[in-house]
């Protein structure tokens, strides 16, 4: 039993070790800590892959090890590794506190991993707090920059509010059923006004984490203010973690014959896709652009949960995974540009096509994948999500999704336009560090490969969602 928990245990120990090392090896040992973190995460990743897909329920149902949790654990670990690799030089901005940075990142990853496996609302809540509190610190990590501190404070206040909302929902559920174990809640629920409040409150709590409208308002400010590697990690991994928990809660506990929460979620998804994409059109800062883009992407992902059938759920997992590579690829390029110019304005990407054809190519491919252009991976993911919605009878929702995807092409291509026709005062681009180059290559190749040959990933996601489909 303990061996099944090894990934979590190792991640936790690694986090503690890294923080201790920060005390033992101040300053000089930062490179060692970085290497250790990456090596540790890679080892945990291999372990998580090796543990496989058997379903095990631990501690009287409060923790679950299954293919679904395994899939998301691998996703978080991959995301964390890519973020660390792509910002190896960027962390110099955190001078003197680099080791602790990795420590908090590891705790955030631990929180996410537990969220994916939580079989109980309280476990879930604690894991979520572990992740979120780590992020409060990470967002405010550049202490000498006002925007970073402001973002951290805003995130803390709004995050606390959303936690309160979620906890209120959970307490209502406990009051109605007398249990917090997910697998037991469903059978004990009856139709009551309090139940409706509980579902809406829990929906709002998760909606905050994955940035569904109208619980999305924090996203652009915090994404803009946070250090860019934190933004990348927040946009990809924290969102996926919220989604992983949300899908498990709603599918395994609230599949009720008498209450159609799918319709509420469908409305929120539609709003999210519309507003996220429309506002993205007018952004001039790459972090804000990607923030609104990530809001829109949350809308697409919610469509899969609305459908709640095989295609929809498979689509959520598939899309989350390819979203990791496309979004982190785009952020990794933005990190390099920020290293060069110190800014995140889209106009600073001018002539990137000439100054660094490789970065421009990665950015183009990643953005086109986010827009859902075949043959890139994002297309396949959207295809599954919208097919699921159509199959479930939500044709209108799929239609909005398609329409908004079309609009999104405009703002993604706008960045591409700047890179290839825009002007820049600079002629050259500084060298990219090898680790970032590696991360960029991984993002590029997987975004292309999973689009051309999606079958292995569809097979895997199919296995992971099997347990929800009875």
């Amino acid at each position: 039993m303990l061996s099944l928990l090894l990934p979590e245990i190792i991640t936790a120990s690694l986090g503690v070790l890294v923080i201790l090392l920060a005390v033992i090896l101040p300053g000089k040992g930062e490179k060692t800590v970085q290497t250790l973190t990456v090596a540790g995460l890679v080892a945990v990743l291999f372990l998580a892959v090796k543990i496989g897909v058997d379903k095990e329920v631990l501690f009287n149902g409060i923790y679950i090890i299954d293919a679904y949790a395994g899939f998301f654990k691998i996703l978080f670990l991959t995301g964390a590794i890519l973020v660390i690799l792509s910002s190896a030089n960027y962390v110099k901005n955190f001078s003197g506190r680099i080791s602790e940075f990795y420590g908090f990142m590891l705790f955030a990853v631990l929180g996410m991993m537990i969220m994916a496996g939580a079989g109980d609302l309280l476990t879930l809540y604690i894991a979520l707090e572990l992740m979120t509190i780590s992020f409060y610190i990470l967002v405010a990590y550049v202490l000498n920059r006002e925007t970073s501190k402001e973002a951290g404070l805003k995130y803390l206040i709004l995050g606390a509010l959303s936690s309160g909302i979620l906890l209120f929902g959970i307490s209502l559920v406990y009051a109605l059923t007398g249990t917090t174990v997910l697998s037991e809640i469903g059978s004990r629920l009856t139709l009551e006004p309090a139940l409706i409040s509980a579902v809406i409150l829990i929906l709002a709590g998760f909606g905050f984490k994955i940035a569904l409208i109208p619980f999305h308002m924090w996203t652009p400010d915090i994404y803009e203010g946070a250090p860019i590697n934190v933004t990348a990690f927040l946009a990809v991994a924290s969102k996926a973690a919220g989604l992983a928990a949300m899908v498990r809660v709603f599918i395994s506990s609230f599949q009720l014959g008498f209450f159609d929460w799918q319709l509420i979620l469908a409305l929120l998804a539609a709003l999210t896709m519309i507003i996220g994409n429309l506002v993205a059109l007018v952004q001039s800062n790459i972090k804000r652009l990607l923030a609104y883009s990530s809001i829109a992407q949350a809308g697409y992902l919610a469509v899969g949960l609305v459908a709640a059938n095989e295609y929809g759920l498979k689509g959520i997992l598939f899309y989350s995974m390819v979203y990791v590579f496309a979004n982190l690829g785009a952020f990794a390029v933005a990190v390099q540009v920020e290293n060069d110019t110190g800014s995140n304005e889209i106009k600073d990407f001018g002539e990137l096509g000439k100054r660094s054809p490789f970065l421009a190519a990665v950015m183009t491919v990643c953005l086109l994948s986010l827009a859902g252009i075949p043959p890139l991976a994002g297309f396949v993911g959207k295809f599954y999500l919208f097919s699921g919605a159509v199959e479930a009878g939500y044709v209108w929702l799929a239609f909005i999704g398609l329409l908004m995807s079309m609009i999104s092409v405009y703002y993604y291509l706008n960045v591409v336009k700047v890179m290839y026709i825009g002007k820049s005062p600079k002629e050259t681009f500084p060298a990219i560090e090898p680790s970032a180059r590696l991360a960029l290559w991984i993002c590029l190749l997987l975004t292309v490969f999973l689009g051309i040959y999606p079958y292995p990933l569809t097979l895997w996601t199919g296995n992971a969602v099997k347990l929800f489909l009875g």
Binding site: L158, I200, L201
Partner: protein, 629 residues
């Protein structure tokens, strides 16, 4: 060894594809390395193909090996990727890799010093990869992908010297003409998917045999046929092939011999179960092929550009193959494709050698007397021409004989006579070329004749190898070796005809007759060609100008296409554009307006969150029963 090769047959198309990516991404600054890895990859492919071919011949059994795995799976639609290796594939793999290998080696000399040397090899690799992938595909869908890649690679190579206007035009023409055919082909594929629910050749074959709706099947077959008509340059989509001469000459050799044009004929052979299912479609195929064969042979007689003569010759020979397919003789058609690949590659590379020596002179009237200066080129060229003319025991004789035999024995007297006539014309125009360009007086213009010398070894050795193949390649389908070709490459329902002495002797004699006629007219000048031109000036002008097909197309495009385009342009600018602008303005304005909800105040954000929860709760309560099931 054979087993291993068979299981790793996917390496053959994959290696050049990787080389293409490698050169394109990393190596384009190092032309030498680019050429080297390109040649090594295709040479490895050739080695694997040879092992497979020998393994198959030794095994003695018809080969059938298929690997397949799903690419996309959803209810009602499974898209698979896979490889099918049987006699047909093995033969094609061998031809394509051999010709591509020789062409790439030859290009080392021909393209030396070209500024685009590395990209030339990248495109060559892409071309080879596309064609190899096409012949190894086990379903229509995958075949179509590679089919289009072949089109793309040919576009890049025909327009390789894109500084020349004519090259750009030719590349566009080839691409657009092929699109017309590909459109029909794609429609045909979609119909096949809709009707039969699969695109796999093996699964389709029995289903097609049991299918009873003849009218629909004929339609589908004719749509599919549009593909080969475009790619194999059959009338009326033949116009691109002569213009494709604008590419570097080794590319022409590749296009005419092994890749591109062979794809169409190969498709008919691969999907013979569907083409041969209805006699109506077969008739159409036979007529198109026969007509193209005669029509192109006539044009070839009147041309002066050495590459154009060969180009029309290719058209004519492809017509021959297609005609054979239409007459039900799939084996004969494929056999001719095989032998033709060798001697046509030889002829083109020979022509390239001449052009190289004469500094890009292509008009045969300005050549003459080359045999003394360029013995290797001349004599290998003569061997190629003899093979093409069908003189025994060279390769072309055996395959041409098979086609004529199937027409004769099948009772298609009309096609048999047509075949003989084309055979005569073929011998005649080839030796018209040879007597004018290689023998007799020198008519060199501008450059000193003394300067002309034999091409370097890297160019002549491929010529010698191909000449050798042109002599012996026919034996694998000859009666005295027991016709192994027919044993491994044949269609189940096909009837095999026993060799007839009459047919063989007649076809050989008619070839000799054509050569004698050319000798009398062009070497001994017993007939004044100028007088003939004058006498038959109307016919001559018509034929010389390729029956004005290009002009007719141009006229049609001007009147109909341009006219429609103008109308559409007006509608686009005045109606559609306005609508688009309007919707864009609305979208943009919405975006700007919504942006102001984001004011940076935490309080506002919290209000939105709580407000959202309240509105949602209120909505559920108000909608009440609507939302509760």
């Amino acid at each position: 060894m054979f087993e291993w090769t068979l299981q790793h047959i996917w390496l053959i198309p994959l290696m050049p594809l990787l080389v293409f990516a490698l050169i394109g991404l990393f190596l384009h600054k190092w032309p030498g390395i680019s050429a080297a890895i390109s040649i090594i990859s295709i040479a490895t492919g050739l080695a694997l193909s040879v092992v497979t071919l020998i393994g198959m011949l030794k095994g003695g059994q018809p080969l059938h090996y298929e690997i397949s795995f799903p690419w996309l799976k959803m209810p009602g639609l499974t898209v698979e990727m896979g490889l099918l290796v049987d006699g047909l594939t093995v033969v094609m793999l061998f031809i394509v890799t051999l010709v591509a290998f020789l062409v790439q080696v030859y290009s080392l000399g021909y393209m030396e010093g070209d500024p685009g040397f590395a990209s030339y090899y990248a495109y060559q690799s892409l071309f080879a990869a596309a064609m190899l992938g096409l012949v190894a595909a086990n379903n229509f869908g995958q075949m179509f992908v590679f089919w289009e890649l072949v089109g793309l690679a040919s576009y890049l190579l025909i327009g390789f010297w894109f500084g020349k206007n004519s090259a750009r035009e030719a590349a566009k023409k080839a691409f657009i003409t092929n699109r017309v055919g590909d459109f029909g082909f794609l429609l045909g594929i979609l119909f096949v998917q809709i009707i039969f629910g699969t695109l796999n050749f093996g699964e389709l074959s029995p289903q097609v045999a049991d299918y009873t709706n003849t009218a629909l099947l004929v339609t589908v077959t004719l749509l599919l046929l549009a593909g080969p008509v475009g790619k194999s340059a059959q009338f009326p989509l033949h116009v691109w092939l002569p213009d494709a001469m604008e590419g570097p000459t080794p590319v022409s050799a590749l296009i005419h011999a092994a890749t591109m044009v062979a794809a169409g004929v190969y498709l008919i052979a691969r999907a013979f179960f569907i083409f041969s299912a209805t006699p109506e479609a077969m008739q159409v195929i036979a007529f198109i092929g026969g007509f193209t064969a005669l029509f192109a042979a006539l044009i070839a007689v009147t041309q002066y550009d050495i590459k154009r003569i060969l180009a029309y010759s290719t058209l004519s020979q492809l017509g021959y193959m297609v005609m054979a397919m239409g007459l039900g003789a799939m084996t004969a058609g494929m056999f001719h494709l095989t032998t033709h690949a060798f001697f046509k590659a030889l002829l083109f590379l020979g022509a390239g050698s001449v052009i190289y020596a004469l500094h890009h002179e292509q008009d045969i009237r300005n050549m003459g007397g080359l045999s003394r200066k360029m013995p290797v080129t001349t004599w290998t060229f003569v061997i190629g021409a003899l093979a093409l003319a069908g003189i025994p025991p060279l390769a072309g004789f055996w395959s041409k004989d098979e086609i004529l035999l199937s027409a004769y024995a099948g009772g298609y007297t009309g096609f048999y006579v047509l075949g003989l006539l084309v055979a005569f014309l073929t011998a005649f125009y080839m030796f018209r070329l040879i007597f004018t360009a290689f023998f007799g007086e020198s008519h060199a213009r501008g450059h000193h004749h003394a300067e002309v010398k034999e091409s370097p070894l890297v160019m002549t050795i491929p010529l010698i190898i191909l000449a050798l193949m042109s002599v012996v390649a026919g034996f694998i389908g000859a009666p005295f070796t027991g016709n192994p070709f027919g044993h491994f490459v044949h269609y189940a329902g096909e009837t095999h005809h026993e060799p007839e002495m009459v047919v063989a002797v007649t076809s050989a004699l008619i070839g000799v007759l054509g050569i004698i006629a050319a000798y009398l007219v062009y070497a001994r000048k017993m007939v004044s060609t100028a007088r003939v031109k004058e006498r038959l000036s109307g016919v001559y002008t018509l034929v010389y100008n390729k029956f004005y097909i290009d002009e007719i197309y141009l006229w049609f495009i001007k009147i109909f296409v341009d006219g429609t385009a103008r109308l559409m342009f007006w509608i686009d600018i005045n109606i559609i554009n306005r609508l688009v602008d309007l919707s864009a303005e609305i979208t943009g304005a919405l975006g700007k307006a919504l942006r102001y909800t984001e004011d940076g105040q935490v309080q506002t954000y919290a209000y939105y969150m709580l407000g959202g929860i309240i509105i949602l709760s209120a909505a559920v309560l108000l909608a009440g029963l609507g939302i509760m099931r």
